[in-house]
């Protein structure tokens, strides 16, 4: 039985456990991790104690870890290092959901498409839909120096350093960073705040140092800090001195006070750049700031293509959908597509007939029902760009909103 037939059979018989097991195994063998995950989720609901289901889950986790070059199955974070913290107590367990649950799912889903070896992502700019201006900017300001370090060294410039990516949630910041790592064939290390923050005095600082040491040892490396405002919050907002020492350690690591950061590209991503301590924006730290806007029409088309892949569909007018979903983030598009699927499935349950394929009109309805989550972000961002735009750091937001800086 081929994969498409299995999928069709499982679609028509969603409670058939043996069939779902077959499908999950076949999806795994075809490296369709997202589809395998979906089949497994259904299986875990239907037969959570089945030993084969447990084995399948373990295989999926291992495969994911292998593909992302990490040893921690439930996150894409690097393996716990390292002699320096080996005496420290066990580190907190990373959460299974991102900080703002659900909003960055699209990044995770797209990341599953990548095939990496030894932590080097295979995602490149070609895999990032839209964002042409941002990509051009990155080419000239970041990639060129990294690809030609000798040229820059002759002029006393160093490749690497810190880049701050900011923008509304669910707009592909981590995918962009991963693509940069893919472009320069660098090792990818993604860091969540749970891997750094620790309740015991001094441990957070140790964890940070260990991470940087590992990145330096394996250079060229892209060190990616998601929700960086949690680690680099404005010290005026901090009520505790413990947080301040973590910030000081972070600044010291960025400055390369103990060892050179040559070949280490540090990425910080945040939805709230205004809550970052100003010290992080000084030269040599996160001195290159990039705005990742919501996907443009071309980007939305690309994302929709990915989201609709493997779903039964008629000829879809992607241009029309992209036009109607102005201001949508990748996560919003995903919500709209899933909403359309739910509508069809509910209808099928009500009528007892097989659900029809997704059509443009069903998707347009779903897009109409979905609210663009980026609007609230832009309302706040507009205030910061208008009233606290020191050194033009938010000019990109003003320009995106059509306001003259």
């Amino acid at each position: 039985m081929d994969l498409d037939s299995l999928r069709e059979a499982a679609r028509l018989s969603p409670d058939n456990v043996p069939l779902l097991k077959l499908l999950a195994r076949a999806e795994l063998e075809a490296f369709n991790l997202e589809n395998a995950r979906r089949a497994l989720e259904s299986l875990l609901d239907l037969a959570p104690d089945d030993s084969m289901v447990t084995a399948l889950k373990s295989d999926l986790d291992n495969l994911r870890a292998l593909l992302s070059g990490t040893a921690q199955p439930s996150t894409s974070a690097p393996a716990a290092p390292r002699s320096e913290i080996s005496s420290a107590p066990a580190r907190p367990i990373a959460p299974e959901t991102p900080e703002t649950p659900g909003l960055d799912d699209i990044d995770a889903m797209l990341a599953d498409v990548e095939r990496s070896q030894g932590g080097r992502p295979r995602v490149t700019f070609a895999d990032v839909g839209g964002l042409d201006e941002v990509k051009q900017d990155i080419q000239s300001r970041i990639l060129h120096p990294l690809k030609n370090p000798e040229m820059y060294r002759q002029y006393g410039r160093q490749a690497g350093g810190g880049i701050l990516l900011y923008g509304p949630p669910g707009c592909g910041k981590s995918l962009l960073a991963r693509a940069i790592a893919g472009e320069i064939d660098a090792r990818w290390m993604e860091v969540g705040i749970h891997e750094i923050l620790d309740m015991w005095v001094g441990n957070s600082e140790k964890n940070l140092h260990a991470l940087f040491e590992e990145a330096r040892a394996k250079a060229p490396t892209v060190l990616y800090f998601d929700e960086i405002d949690a680690l680099a919050a404005d010290r005026q907002d901090m009520r505790r001195t413990a947080g301040r020492t973590t910030i000081n350690q972070f600044l010291s690591e960025l400055d390369g006070s103990t060892a050179s950061n040559e070949g280490v590209l540090v990425f910080g991503a945040t939805n709230s750049p205004w809550h970052l301590d100003p010290a992080f924006r000084r030269p040599g730290r996160f001195d290159r700031i990039l705005f990742a806007p919501p996907p443009d029409a071309a980007g939305r088309e690309a994302i929709l293509t990915i989201l609709l892949r493997n779903r039964p569909q008629e000829a879809i007018d992607l241009k029309k959908l992209a036009k109607k979903s102005e201001g949508f983030s990748g996560a919003d598009l995903k919500a709209a597509v899933e909403g359309a699927c739910d509508t069809l499935l509910s209808e099928a349950v009500r009528t007892g007939k097989a659900p029809p394929a997704l059509s443009t009109s069903v998707l347009l309805d779903a897009v109409g029902r979905t609210k663009a989550s980026t609007r609230g972000w832009f309302e706040t961002a507009r205030n910061y760009a208008l009233h606290a735009n020191h050194d033009g750091q938010y000019d990109a937001i003003l320009s995106h909103l059509g306001i003259k800086p």
Binding site: P89, P92, M199, N203, A230, N383, H387, A388, I403
Partner: protein, 424 residues
């Protein structure tokens, strides 16, 4: 080193560490007012310990911040069951009551907080907030003075005191209190904001503008500072300043005095309008005209003020969508109506009278449409703002140029169309 004072114990419970890290992040998010994100983190900790009172209180704060008042109330009653009648719970309940428009309940909750802990300045500030909602500025000041006698550097008490003094017309005192607040924390956004308001009320527009800009630099999301900045920019125009002065005067009065003044003026104008002939009649007519012009001005002044801001490239970008709408439909219609009406002096045409009147009517209806929060109200006033003047103009044109039958048909169609829109 003893284990119990060691920073690295032999065994660290991962769950506790995770909770601690989550709480650290939650504290950050709460301080930054990022309620929805904080809520997600609190949920993670509560999953491990659903009866953690500290987390539940933080969750109630989040729900309050997100305007989920009933959910916040539900958490509060659960907390009362867990930790008993603590003052902090009554304080939050009082804020909930105020937010839900229940000033008497709010007062009762605040009094319960004070009786639970009379030595806590926060509880007296809660009482002051209730007085503020009643616009009882003297009582508000009295509660705040009590709070400040307990805690001299209570930032919120100083902030509210400046507001209370401002509304009582004591702008010098209000400025002094604001300076005290800024002295405690130069990066206090509220301090600069209240100083801006006090300066604006004192007529010092330049200082007010600077203070509001400073407040917004520190906290660009401050609604008070934003409103103040727009007011100070609009107040560059003399007619708008007259409107602000009137507002300030009325705000300084108690509710009953204010009502007595409004009804007194209305009766006075009614009597004056009956005076006919001679110099007295002319003066009476002028007074009645000025009165109605002023009443109309209070309806349309914000829209006209926004129109001036819209006209300037530097201030245009500060306007939000509804403010831009009011600039165009209220300010624009008023200005056009005024010009068209004035043209009657040169043309003597009936068109000028009717046309001007229609536009002025449209300006008032638009101000009600844009400021209205009820969907039906919005439709009704929008229909009035566009339908009535258009019908008047078309009828006039029809009567004067195209014939009565056509204009009557148009009138009927417009009214029928308006009903259809309203029904939808």
């Amino acid at each position: 080193m003893n284990d119990w004072i060691s920073s690295e114990p032999a065994h660290q419970p991962a769950e506790a560490s995770r909770s601690q890290a989550a709480w650290r992040r939650t504290e950050q998010l709460l301080a930054q007012g990022r309620w929805d994100e904080a809520r997600a983190w609190i949920a993670k900790v509560l999953a491990a310990d659903p009866d953690d009172a500290l987390q539940l209180l933080a969750l109630a704060e989040c729900e309050f911040g997100l305007e989920n008042y009933e959910e916040a109330r539900r958490i509060l009653s659960r907390l009362k069951g867990l930790i008993g009648p603590e003052a902090i719970l009554y304080r939050l309940e009082s804020r909930l009551d105020l937010a839900q428009g229940k000033p008497r309940d709010a007062q009762r909750s605040a009094l319960a907080a004070v009786s639970a802990d009379p030595a806590d300045a926060d509880n007296h500030v809660a009482l002051a907030r209730c007085a503020c909602a009643r616009q009882d500025w003297e009582a508000m000041e009295s509660h705040l003075r009590h709070a400040l006698s307990l805690e001299g550097e209570h930032a919120e008490a100083l902030h509210l005191l400046s507001i209370a003094q401002n509304f009582q017309g004591r702008t010098d005192d209000a400025q002094e209190t604001a300076h005290k607040l800024i002295g405690l924390d130069p990066e206090s956004s509220t301090g600069h904001s209240v100083l801006g308001w006090a300066s604006l009320h004192a007529g010092d527009r330049a200082t007010a503008e600077n203070e509001f800009r400073e407040s917004l630099r520190i906290d660009p999301t401050s609604p008070g500072a934003r409103a103040g900045l727009l007011e100070s920019l609009r107040a560059r125009n003399l007619p708008y300043r007259a409107y602000l002065g009137w507002n300030r005067f009325m705000n300084g009065l108690s509710g009953s005095t204010r009502n007595a003044l409004v009804f007194g003026l209305l009766i006075g104008m009614n009597l004056l309008s009956r005076v006919r002939g001679g110099m007295l009649g002319a003066l009476a007519s002028a007074a009645v005209f000025l009165y109605f012009a002023f009443v109309m001005w209070t309806w349309v002044a914000p829209g006209v003020g926004n129109l001036f801001l819209l006209a300037s490239g530097t201030t245009r970008r500060l306007l939000r969508q509804e403010e831009t709408l009011s600039a165009i439909f209220v300010g624009g219609a008023f200005l056009a109506g005024f010009l068209v009406s004035a043209s009657v002096l040169m043309t003597g045409s009936a068109f000028s009278v009717y046309g001007g009147g229609a536009l002025l009517f449209s300006a008032i209806a638009s101000s009600l449409w844009i400021g209205n929060e009820h969907p039906t109200g919005k439709w009704v006033y929008a229909a009035a703002a566009f339908g009535v003047p258009l019908t008047m103009l078309a009828t006039l044109l029809g009567f004067t140029t195209w014939g009565r039958h056509f204009s009557m048909a148009f009138l009927v169609l417009t009214i029928a169309g308006s009903f259809r829109v309203l029904r939808r």
